[in-house]
């Protein structure tokens, strides 16, 4: 049954991807990519990876769609016609596809217990989680404790992306430029659309509550800082879409967003430095408390908070950077 459903979802995903490539209208492409992300989230859920599914649904289908739409509002709706057929690109795609199909032959079956993925470190993580961290969600233990160093790198990557975007298009609106009328709505929001506003405002508190749940319940159920940060940012962006970007900026000013983006990463790295000072290794949480298990859990909660703050700050800063360009 799962196989049939999975095949159905994957075929739909392929069709959606083809549609996104074929569409000349870029808005349609962006929407199809959002649907593609949602389908992939469903597929991840079928593969028993709810943490990844949650991230994919929140970031891929939600926030990146909004970011791409606000980027499109700055450029144009229609794809530019290609001057000549892209033969080199076509050849590259065909060759890479052939290689991928060839490599698929060597791929182990899904769930094969003898693959390196199952036998190498994964087999040790499960007893280690029970012994050292004692939380039900092994993904959180791996992500935040055993592989805490990698996750720190991911947070830095997210922060670097925000710095790059803000350098390229600037945190503030350019002065003295008239904005095209299509953008006027981006800054004014949907003030004249009562049904959307009312229902949106009913939804926002629940999204925020759910974000906090995902943040602080991440040890017990799927979720954690990345997903919670994306959900939190989605709630604020929804408010910005309804009431106009300046209203969203008055909740959390862009200055504070930049502090959040850097501060979250600072909290994460700071925990590592504190463990160093207390005599442990970098990000070795066990030295934070007399009881090593409690210390592990404490460390995980603190660094997950750092992750959430950084992700929310970065996503909102990028949203403001794009949307502010439309204002005169």
């Amino acid at each position: 049954m799962t196989g049939i459903l999975s095949g159905f979802i994957l075929s739909l995903a392929v069709l959606t991807a083809l549609g996104a490539m074929r569409a000349r209208n870029l808005f349609a492409s962006v929407m199809l990519m959002g649907i593609f992300s949602l389908l992939m989230a469903a597929e991840f859920l079928l593969l028993d990876a709810p943490d990844v599914a949650l991230t994919e649904a929140a970031v891929g289908a939600g926030i990146s769609t909004v970011l791409l739409l606000s980027a499109l509002a700055l450029t144009g709706e229609e794809e530019k016609p290609q001057p000549r057929p892209p033969w080199i690109g076509l050849a590259a795609v065909i060759i890479v596809t052939a290689i991928v199909f060839y490599a698929v032959k060597d791929k182990p079956m899904l769930g094969d217990p003898n693959t390196p993925v199952q036998t190498h470190v994964a087999a040790e993580y499960f007893p280690m989680t029970r012994e050292f961290v004692d939380i039900p969600n092994v993904v959180t233990a791996v992500l935040a404790s055993f592989r805490g160093y990698d996750t720190l790198g991911e947070v830095i990557v997210v922060l670097t992306a925000a710095i790059g975007v803000l350098f390229l298009i600037g945190p503030e609106a350019p002065v003295g430029r008239k904005s095209p009328p299509t953008l006027r709505q981006a800054s004014e929001g949907l003030k004249h659309h009562q049904p959307v506003r009312i229902v949106g405002k009913i939804a926002i508190p629940f999204i925020l509550l759910f974000a906090l749940y995902v943040q602080f319940h991440g040890e017990y159920s799927p979720g954690g800082g990345f997903q919670a940060g994306a959900l939190f940012a989605a709630a604020i962006i929804l408010y910005g879409l309804l009431e106009g970007r300046p209203a969203a900026a008055s909740i959390i000013p862009t200055r504070i967003l930049r502090i959040m983006a850097a501060g979250g990463a600072l909290i994460y790295g700071g925990v590592g430095v504190v463990t160093l000072v207390l005599g442990g290794n970098f990000l070795e949480y066990t030295v934070l408390n007399d009881d090593p298990v409690v210390a592990q859990q404490f460390g995980i909660i603190v660094i997950e908070a750092g992750v959430g703050i950084t992700v929310a700050g970065v996503l909102l800063a990028i949203y403001h950077a794009f949307a502010a360009r439309g204002e005169t």
């Binding site: 949907l190 659309h193 049904p195 959307v196 229902v199 949106g200 009913i202 939804a203």
Partner: protein, 108 residues
């Protein structure tokens, strides 16, 4: 098969039927507004029926509560998203098809 199973099965079939009709309507109708009309109304009713069927199957449990939350969420958001879609179509200048043909007939 208890009576609850029968009711839930009937609700599920109803829901599936409405969703199918909505899908056919969205493909076959001539312009944005009629397509929206076909898909939005049936979508709301269809998902309502299917969620009702699932709730009957789940019985009195936490799953029913979650399904009820999803149901309320869909009841709020699904019509509003259709409204926003129709409004966006109107704002970007799509005229209803019937209006266009009427205007063409008025002209000599």
């Amino acid at each position: 098969m208890t009576i609850i199973d029968w009711i839930s099965g009937a609700l599920g079939v109803f829901g599936g039927f409405f969703v199918l009709v909505g899908g056919i309507g969205a493909l076959r109708m001539p312009d944005v507004y009629t397509r929206l009309h076909a898909s939005s109304l049936t979508d709301t009713l269809g998902s309502l029926c299917i969620l009702g069927a699932l709730m009957l199957q789940a019985g009195l449990s936490l799953a029913t509560l979650k399904l009820a939350a999803i149901l309320i969420f869909l009841l709020f958001t699904s019509p509003v998203s259709s409204y926003a879609l129709g409004n966006a179509a109107l704002l970007s200048g799509y005229e209803p098809r019937q209006l266009r043909t009427l205007e063409r007939e008025k002209r000599p």
